[in-house]
């Protein structure tokens, strides 16, 4: 019994945790990566002055929020210019990648920019959100969605000369089963074994149906193809010198200063005209933690590209462009939404009036404004951004938006309730601990929220900052229940992958007890950090992986979002705006193609793909 929940938990953990705690990244970000990845924007709610008259300021803030462009993402469109070989690019990143082992080291947005230059994945995502071929040429499943067979690209070589074939994946799986990052994904995806059917055909056998399994092979954690012999030979060294099939190979690694990768002359992909990729000679990655400096480096020509997850920097970049800087701005928000959660298992957060009340007093627009993100970050209302195929207008409307009075009234109801769950006397203030990692934007955001909540006169807010590790540990808690000792805890939700990859793990039963109560023995998730469970919602989530009909799944996920809007276990403070800025003669970051000619997803979460990037003459 212990083993079974272990198997279920671990993956849930990895995925939800990773996707959640780190900065806007695709499914493989690990929480233990660099400290500066969070650019959370807290939900803003309008607040009025203590007097009864409605101040003009209120209107201003409302305006700022509602007039934010509906879709700030840069359009993904195919490259029309003619490509040319040669050139070197230097890109400024937000942080250094502490390790480059896709299955073992945490990797969020800045790290992925580096890793994906050397490590290819099995599948890639298309601009329309579907998954398409990359190292896997095609795939199919059996009727019950428990066996997935992949045909592999042939003639692919690793940087060290080894051949990529079915056996590679089998050997990789041995490492992925126990990898710090990948073990969780293996469990979430319920992969039981990987079988080589023939030289270029491999079968993933799942222990449970999952209609969207290929999406798990998009993230580098499970889908990143690394050379298993090299990994086994020098496990630690692989972190500094990863061997993959990617368009570039590791050349020099000077931690915290510069990492350089050079062209892989044996890259398996060619462009539509038969020219072998990549076009560039080399790419240099420079971790520049200071936001201003990273932008300066681009503007002054010291670097040719930069990446950021901070609204303030995006605003400065836009201003620079308006002033005449010759740069291209590739903005992306995506589903990743900053915010926080309540620990639904302890008082007073176990009462929906408190959760909803606090959320209604939270002014997302004000917080976004405080962080300088007005017009850059969109307020969040669900786990999908407006341009995601899963976005639901209904859910957006249902989310308890900023309404200070209504929130205050709800809190008053709780405070005056003689049976209030925190056991305090009628009229006593509610005690809230608001905790965020010591990220500069989060620290600002939490001060704004503290003011908003305190202004109601019914909340005593205590602010704390713990380093990211501790922050996560507080939310995690300890065995056997893993309830966590957090109260109101900064967090991030969602990713751009298939919703099942993060939702199912996030909202499985939080404790064994609850699981047993619903007859779901053994199915529990310690990484259900909010400790929130709704049996109906769980049913919808399970249903969504038993079918691959889009309309059916959409309807189910919409109901899930509506349920979240009703029960408010989490709150939002704006989608994570990301930016890749480049000198305007650098093309191919936007509009790269998959091997089957379809348009790729561009640059989600500011992760650039380097294979088709070129410098225009």
């Amino acid at each position: 019994m212990k083993k079974s929940w272990l198997k279920l938990i671990a993956p849930l953990f990895a995925i939800a945790l990773i996707g959640a705690a780190c900065g806007g990244s695709d499914s493989d970000s690990e929480s233990s990566s660099s400290s500066d990845t969070e650019s959370s924007t807290e939900t803003e709610t309008e607040t009025e002055t203590e007097t009864t008259e409605a101040p003009e300021a209120e209107d201003d803030v409302l305006e700022a929020g509602t007039e934010a462009e509906g879709d700030v993402d840069t359009e993904v469109e195919a490259v029309v210019e003619e490509s040319s070989y040669g050139g070197d690019i230097i890109i400024g990143l937000e942080a250094e990648a502490t390790g480059l082992r896709s299955w073992e080291d945490g990797c969020s947005s800045p790290c992925l920019v580096m890793m994906k230059a050397m490590i290819d994945t099995m599948v890639e995502r298309r601009a329309d959100g579907t998954y398409g071929p990359w190292l896997a040429k095609s795939w199919s499943s059996n009727e019950g969605y428990t066996e997935w067979t992949f045909e592999l690209q042939e003639g692919v070589l690793f940087h060290n000369g080894y051949s990529f074939n079915a056996k590679t994946l089998v050997d990789m799986f041995e490492l992925q089963k126990v990898g710090a990052i990948s073990a969780g994904i293996v469990s979430a995806a319920k992969v039981a074994e990987v079988v080589a059917v023939d030289n270029y055909t491999v079968k993933y056998v799942l222990s449970g149906a999952h209609s969207a399994f290929p999406s798990f092979l998009y993230g580098v954690g499970l889908g990143g193809v690394f050379e298993p012999n090299a990994a086994n030979e020098d496990f630690d060294g692989f972190s500094m010198n990863p061997i993959g099939t990617g368009p570039f190979m590791m050349d020099k690694r000077d931690l915290d200063n510069e990492t350089i990768v050079v062209r892989n002359p044996n890259y398996w992909m060619s462009d539509g005209d038969g020219n072998q990729l990549p076009y560039l000679d080399s790419v240099a990655f420079r971790p520049i933690p200071d936001e201003g400096t990273r932008l300066d480096s681009l503007l002054s020509g010291t670097t040719n590209m930069m990446q950021t997850l901070r609204q303030g920097t995006i605003r400065d970049a836009r201003a620079a462009k308006e002033d005449g800087a010759d740069i291209t701005l590739l903005e992306f928000q995506g589903n990743n939404v900053g915010g926080g959660m309540f620990n639904n298992s302890i008082a007073p957060y176990d009462d929906v009036r408190v959760r909803k009340g606090l959320t209604q007093m939270n002014n997302q627009d004000a917080v976004i404004e405080a962080l300088g993100g007005t017009g850059i970050s969109l307020p969040g209302s669900q786990w999908f951004s407006p341009d995601s195929p899963w976005y639901s207008e209904k859910a957006a409307a249902a989310w308890p938006n900023f309404d200070f009075d209504a929130g205050k009234a709800l809190l008053a109801e709780y405070v005056n309730d003689p049976d209030r769950s925190d056991g305090r006397a009628v009229g006593d203030k509610i005690e809230v601990e608001l905790s965020c990692p010591p990220d500069p934007t989060l620290i600002l955001a939490m001060q704004v929220i503290e003011q908003l909540w305190s202004a109601s006169g019914m909340v005593d807010v205590n602010l704390t900052n713990y380093d990211q590790q501790t922050h996560i540990n507080y939310a995690l808690g300890a065995p056997p229940d893993f309830n966590g000792s957090h109260g109101a805890h900064c967090w991030r939700w969602s990713s751009n992958d298939d919703p099942s990859t993060f939702l199912n793990t996030q909202f499985a039963p939080p404790t064994l007890g609850i699981a047993a109560a619903y007859g779901l023995d053994g199915i529990f998730s310690p990484i259900n950090f909010p400790n929130y469970f709704d049996i109906e919602m769980f049913g919808w989530l399970v249903g969504a992986i038993s079918t691959d009909a889009f309309e059916e799944r959409y309807a189910l996920y919409e109901m899930v979002m509506l349920r979240l809007a009703r029960d408010v276990p989490v709150w939002y403070s704006g989608h994570t705006a990301t930016l890749l800025a480049a000198e305007s003669n650098i093309l191919g970051v936007n509009g790269w193609l998959l091997p089957d000619g379809s348009l790729g997803a561009g640059f989600p979460s500011a992760v650039a793909r380097w294979g088709q990037v070129f410098i225009q003459n």
Partner: protein, 327 residues
């Protein structure tokens, strides 16, 4: 606590001839006329050069401002002073990073809170740290140093060895490690840690001065007539070493205020939303391209306070030197 030990001009008896010739008052270094009878403290103030008077005035202003803000808090914001936590852009009344105006004399910060009020509230943190360090240093350090300087022997070796160990840690590194490991965020604890780390230099100064005083005729005379040593310690020795301890304390206070500013700049001091000069500078950095004002105010307050302490300390040292040299 002195990162540079003797560099800030404290005498060090471990150095055979003392590197103290420079700052520690040979009459040569003092261009103003020597010899004062220095009777009342008021006459001392009258003798101050104009700039030193300004420094004193600034320090008094800071102390009063800090106390005023705490009284204001005690009385629930009743006194005339803006709320340092009130974010105008939320509730009306201000917008972020405003310039000086009638309502907000020094403008607002990035969360549209009144700068002046935050500066004055932040003064309290610096004040508490400075006072704690001075008190700890003079009381514990002074006593300990005087004791071992007079008693000599094994006690002296032991205590000085311990002081060596504490001084061996680069203070900033040690503080960072402590704060990070123990996550201290409360002002009393932080001030206490500063205090403890400062003690060794006070001990050294006290000991050095005690060695000097103990060899003086009046002490030897007292010993000769059989006065109890404890009595000598408290009646003869300590009053004579206090002035130079105090002179050092002023300079040490400035140094410690800078260290606290550094810690809070890194976000490792008292918890937000408490304003401190250091974290105000940190918050101001985000918009540095557009305006230097949010940084300028806290930086100025910090610098002016430290300058004042240094000037006062220097002046005091000169007086101490003159007095002791004219004995």
């Amino acid at each position: 606590m002195s990162e540079s030990k003797d560099i800030t001009g404290s005498p060090d008896a471990n150095r055979p001839l003392g590197v103290d010739r420079g700052l520690h008052g040979t009459p040569h270094s003092n261009p103003t006329p020597a010899a004062s009878n220095g009777n009342g403290r008021l006459s001392a103030v009258k003798e101050m050069p104009f700039l030193v008077k300004c420094a004193l005035f600034w320090l008094i202003f800071i102390v009063f401002a800090a106390i005023y803000t705490r009284l204001d808090r005690l009385f629930g914001q009743a006194l005339p002073l803006q709320d340092p936590f009130y974010q105008g852009f939320l509730f009306g009344g201000a917008s972020p990073v405003e310039g000086p105006s009638l309502d907000h004399v020094l403008g607002t910060d990035i969360l549209s809170r009144d700068n002046l009020s935050r500066l004055l509230h932040g003064a309290w943190v610096s004040l508490i740290v400075a006072i704690t360090v001075i008190s700890f240093g003079i009381v514990f350090g002074g006593l300990l140093g005087a004791f071992v300087g007079y008693a000599r022997g094994r006690w002296e070796t032991l205590v000085m060895a311990i002081m060596d160990v504490v001084l061996a840690f680069p203070p900033l590194v040690l503080l960072l490690a402590l704060v990070a490991i123990y996550k201290v965020r409360s002002l009393p604890v932080i001030a206490l840690v500063f205090g403890v780390l400062s003690v060794p230099t006070y001990v050294r100064i006290a000991r050095a001065n005690t060695l000097g005083v103990a060899s003086r005729e009046f002490v030897q005379a007292a010993e000769a007539i059989g006065t109890k040593r404890v009595w000598i310690l408290f009646r003869e020795i300590i009053p004579n070493i206090l002035p130079s301890l105090f002179a050092y304390a002023l300079i040490n206070a400035g140094f410690v205020i800078v260290i606290e500013g550094t810690l809070s700049y890194l976000g490792l001091s008292v918890q937000v939303p408490e304003p401190t000069w250091g974290n105000m500078i940190n918050e101001g950095r985000r918009d540095i391209r557009r305006t230097i004002l949010p940084i300028f105010w806290p930086a100025s307050f910090l610098t002016l306070t430290v300058v004042s302490l240094n000037m006062l300390g220097d002046w005091f040292q000169q007086r101490v030197a003159i007095r002791s040299s004219s004995l």
